[in-house]
C-alpha cells in the first residue's frame, strides 16, 4: 500500500519532536531568571531553614541532571507533578483550565474556518470585482488589528449588551442547566468573536490566494473547455487543489487551540489555559509550566502530523 512508509516515518518524527521539546522545556524554565523558592517563601522573615526545607520538599536541592531524570521518569508514568502554587496535581489544574478554553477557542476557530473559507473562495472567484475589493480590505483590516485592541473595542461597543468579562455570572444561584448554558454562551460571544475575526482575516486571505493560484492553472481552463459550469469547476477541480495549503493552515491553528489565547483571555478575564500559563510564569511554577508546554507541544505536533497525513491523502504526488 502506498504510504505505510510515509505514515511510520512521519509518526516517528513526531515522537522525536515531542521528546526534544520536552527536554528544551525543562531546560528553558530553569534558565529563566528568578527562583521558585523566593516566590514560595514570600512570607515575612522567611528563615534560611524554611527556604532549605522548601527546596528539599520540591526536589530543587538535587542537581539539574537528577531533576531531569526524575522528571522523565514521572512523565513516563503519566505523572505531570504537583503545582508549586496550589499543591494540586498539574494534570488537574491543566484540565480545569483547558475545559474553559476549548469551547471558547473552538467556537472562534470554527467561525473563522467556515466564513474565512467561504469568503476566500468567493473573493477568488469574483476576482477584480468590488466584492473582492471589499472582502480583501475587510480581511486585511481584521488580520492586521492587534488582538487585544480589537477585544477592547468590542468591549466598549458591547458593554451593557453582552457580558464583557468572566465566564459565568457568579450571582446566579443554583441555575438550571439551561440557564447556566445560556449564561456561559453569552459570556463566550465576545472573546470567541475577537479570536474568530482575527483568524477570519487570515483564513480569507490565505484561502483567496490559494484559490487564485489554483484557478490560474491550466486544468481549470480544460475544465471550462469541457463545458463544466463555474460552480462545478470550483467544486470538482479547484477546491481539492486549493485545499492543500488550507489543510495545513487549519491543522496548525487547531494545534494552537490548547495554547488558548493569552491576550484574549486577559482582556475578557477568561479563566483558561492562556491565563494559567501566564500566572505560572509569574510564579515560576515549573511543574505547571512544563505540563502546559508539554500539552501544547503534543497538540501542535499531533496536528502537524494530521496535516502531513491529510496532505498525503489529498495530493497523490506525495510519496515520501
Amino acid at each position: 500500500m502506498r504510504g505505510a512508509d510515509y505514515v511510520i516515518k512521519r509518526t516517528a518524527f513526531a515522537v522525536i519532536t515531542v521528546f526534544v521539546a520536552v527536554t528544551i522545556n525543562f531546560a528553558l524554565f530553569r534558565l529563566a531568571p528568578g527562583s521558585a523558592i523566593s516566590n514560595l517563601s514570600r512570607v515575612p522573615h522567611a528563615t534560611q531553614e524554611l527556604r532549605e526545607a522548601l527546596k528539599r520538599e520540591f526536589g530543587l536541592d538535587k542537581s539539574k541532571g537528577a531533576q531531569y531524570a526524575i522528571y522523565l521518569k514521572q512523565l513516563a508514568h503519566g505523572n505531570l507533578g504537583v503545582s508549586f502554587e496550589n499543591q494540586q496535581p498539574v494534570s488537574h489544574n491543566l484540565w480545569e483550565a483547558l475545559k474553559n478554553t476549548l469551547p471558547m477557542v473552538l467556537l472562534g476557530t470554527v467561525f473563522a474556518i467556515v466564513f474565512g473559507t467561504l469568503t476566500g473562495v468567493i473573493a477568488a472567484w469574483r476576482r477584480g470585482t468590488a466584492l473582492e475589493g471589499a472582502t480583501v480590505t475587510t480581511a486585511l483590516g481584521f488580520y492586521s488589528m492587534p488582538t487585544h485592541w480589537l477585544g477592547l473595542m468590542l468591549v466598549i461597543l458591547f458593554t451593557g449588551v453582552l457580558p464583557t468579562g468572566g465566564m459565568a455570572n457568579d450571582f446566579l444561584i443554583n441555575p438550571s442547566f439551561w440557564t447556566h448554558l445560556k449564561d456561559v454562551l453569552s459570556h463566550m460571544v465576545l472573546p470567541s468573536l475577537t479570536l474568530g475575526l482575527v483568524l477570519y482575516g487570515e483564513y480569507t486571505l490565505i484561502v483567496r490566494s490559494a484559490m487564485l493560484e489554483t484557478l490560474g492553472e491550466d486544468y481549470i481552463l480544460t475544465a471550462r473547455a469541457k463545458g463544466l459550469k463555474p460552480w462545478a469547476i470550483v467544486r470538482k477541480h479547484a477546491l481539492r487543489n486549493a485545499m492543500l495549503p488550507i489543510a495545513t493552515l487549519v491543522a496548525l491553528s487547531l494545534g494552537y487551540i490548547v495554547a488558548g489565547a493569552i491576550l484574549i483571555e486577559t482582556v475578557f478575564s477568561w479563566p483558561g489555559i492562556g491565563r494559567a500559563v501566564y500566572d505560572a510564569v509569574l510564579q515560576r511554577d515549573y511543574p505547571m509550566l512544563q505540563g502546559a508546554f508539554l500539552l501544547l507541544t503534543i497538540s501542535v505536533v499531533f496536528f502537524n502530523l494530521v496535516a502531513d497525513l491529510l496532505y498525503f491523502k489529498l495530493d497523490p504526488r506525495i510519496t515520501t
Partner: protein, 325 residues
C-alpha cells in the same frame, strides 16, 4: 462556401494594468469545413492562441471580444457563456500544449474522461468507465493506465490522454494549441501521426495552432499565417510553401531549418513584431519587410484574393483601387 466553423471579423482586446488596451486580434476571419485541417501559424504573440481560445469563449474576463463565431451558421458567442457552453466538448474540443498541466493532478486520468462523458450525457457509471478505457486504448494507452494519476504518466502519454479526453464526446472540430511543443522529437512525431489518424477515422475537422511550420506541412490542407493580430496570408499549404504572396510568409518559411540545405546558418527575420497596445499606421510588417515600398508606410494592406482559395494582405500584389485613392 458554408463552413462548419466560421469566424467573422473577430477582434479581441485585453485590458492592460495601466488602463490601456491591447488589440490582440484585429479582424480575423477563418473558415473550417467538415473534415478540413487548417493550420494557424505565426510568431509568439501574434494572436493565434487568443483566436483559438476566443472561438471556444475561453478568454479571461480581462478580454473583450467582438465579431462572430458561427457553428453551422449559429452565432455561438452571441449569448455569452449560455450559448457557448452547450457546444463545448460536444462540437468543439481542444487539446492544449503538451507541457501544460491540462490534466488535474489530483484526479485519475480516467475519472477526468468519465467526467466529460457524464457531463454531456454520453454514458454513466460503469459504462462511462468502460468507454473511457476504450478511448485510452484508441490513442495507444493501455486502459488500466487510466487509473493512474497524471504525474505517473510520461509527457507523451499525458498528451495522448488529453487527446483521448478531447475525443470523448465525438466533437466535429478539434482545436489543437501547440499540441507537440515541449515534447521530444520522437514523441512529437507519434502525436502528429495519432492526430492524423484520428482526424481521418473520425472525420474530424482540425484547427491546428502552431509556430512549427513543418507540422503544418505534415498535417494540414489549408494554412493561415498571422502577424500582429491579423491574417497576412491564407491558402492551401502547397501555395503557402511554394508560392507565398506575402513577404512575411516567404521569410517565415525561409527561416525553417532545412535538413539537406547547404546554408549553415538558420535564416531569421530581423526586428520584432510591433506593439499592439497602440494604433498602427500602414502595414504592420513594414519595418521588418525586405521589399517595402512607398504605399506601405501609410496604407494598411487588406486581405485580397490572389488565387484559388489563396489571399494575401500585401501591396506587392497591387494596391487596390479604392485604397489608393
Amino acid at each position: 462556401m458554408t463552413g462548419l466553423l466560421e469566424v467573422e471579423d473577430l477582434h479581441v482586446w485585453f485590458d492592460l494594468q495601466d488602463g490601456g488596451e491591447l488589440h490582440a486580434v484585429q479582424g480575423v476571419s477563418l473558415s473550417v469545413e467538415p473534415g478540413e485541417r487548417l493550420g494557424l501559424v505565426g510568431e509568439s504573440g501574434c494572436g493565434k492562441t487568443t483566436t483559438a481560445l476566443a472561438v471556444m469563449g475561453l478568454l479571461p474576463p480581462s478580454a473583450s471580444v467582438a465579431g462572430r463565431v458561427l457553428l453551422d451558421g449559429e452565432d455561438i458567442l452571441a449569448g455569452g457563456e449560455s450559448t457557448i457552453r452547450p457546444h463545448r466538448w460536444v462540437d468543439v474540443a481542444i487539446v492544449f500544449q503538451g507541457a501544460m498541466n491540462a490534466l488535474n493532478p489530483v484526479r485519475t486520468v480516467a475519472s477526468q474522461i468519465v467526467e466529460a462523458l457524464e457531463l454531456h450525457g454520453r454514458a454513466r457509471g460503469a459504462q462511462a468507465r468502460a468507454e473511457a478505457g476504450e478511448l485510452l486504448e484508441s490513442v495507444g494507452i493501455p486502459a488500466g493506465r487510466g487509473e493512474r494519476f497524471p504525474h505517473e504518466l510520461s509527457g507523451g502519454m499525458r498528451q495522448r490522454a488529453a487527446i483521448a479526453m478531447a475525443l470523448s464526446c465525438r466533437p466535429r472540430i478539434l482545436i489543437a494549441d501547440e499540441p507537440t511543443t515541449a515534447l521530444d522529437v520522437m514523441v512529437q512525431a507519434q502525436i502528429l501521426e495519432l492526430l492524423d489518424a484520428l482526424c481521418r477515422d473520425f472525420g474530424l475537422a482540425l484547427l491546428l495552432v502552431t509556430h512549427d511550420l513543418p507540422v503544418v506541412a505534415q498535417l494540414c490542407d489549408q494554412g493561415t499565417v498571422m502577424y500582429a493580430g491579423e491574417i497576412v496570408e491564407r491558402g492551401s499549404v502547397d501555395d503557402l510553401f511554394h508560392a507565398p504572396r506575402h513577404p512575411y510568409s516567404r521569410l517565415l518559411f525561409a527561416a525553417t531549418p532545412d535538413l539537406d540545405g547547404e546554408g549553415d546558418e538558420v535564416a531569421s527575420i530581423p526586428g520584432a513584431p510591433p506593439r499592439l497596445d497602440r494604433p498602427l499606421a500602414g502595414c504592420p510588417f513594414r519595418p521588418r519587410c525586405d521589399s517595402a515600398f512607398s504605399p506601405c508606410a501609410s496604407l494598411r494592406p487588406r486581405l485580397q484574393t490572389v488565387g484559388d482559395r489563396h489571399a494575401a494582405a500585401c501591396h506587392l500584389n497591387g494596391v487596390p483601387a479604392e485604397a489608393a485613392r
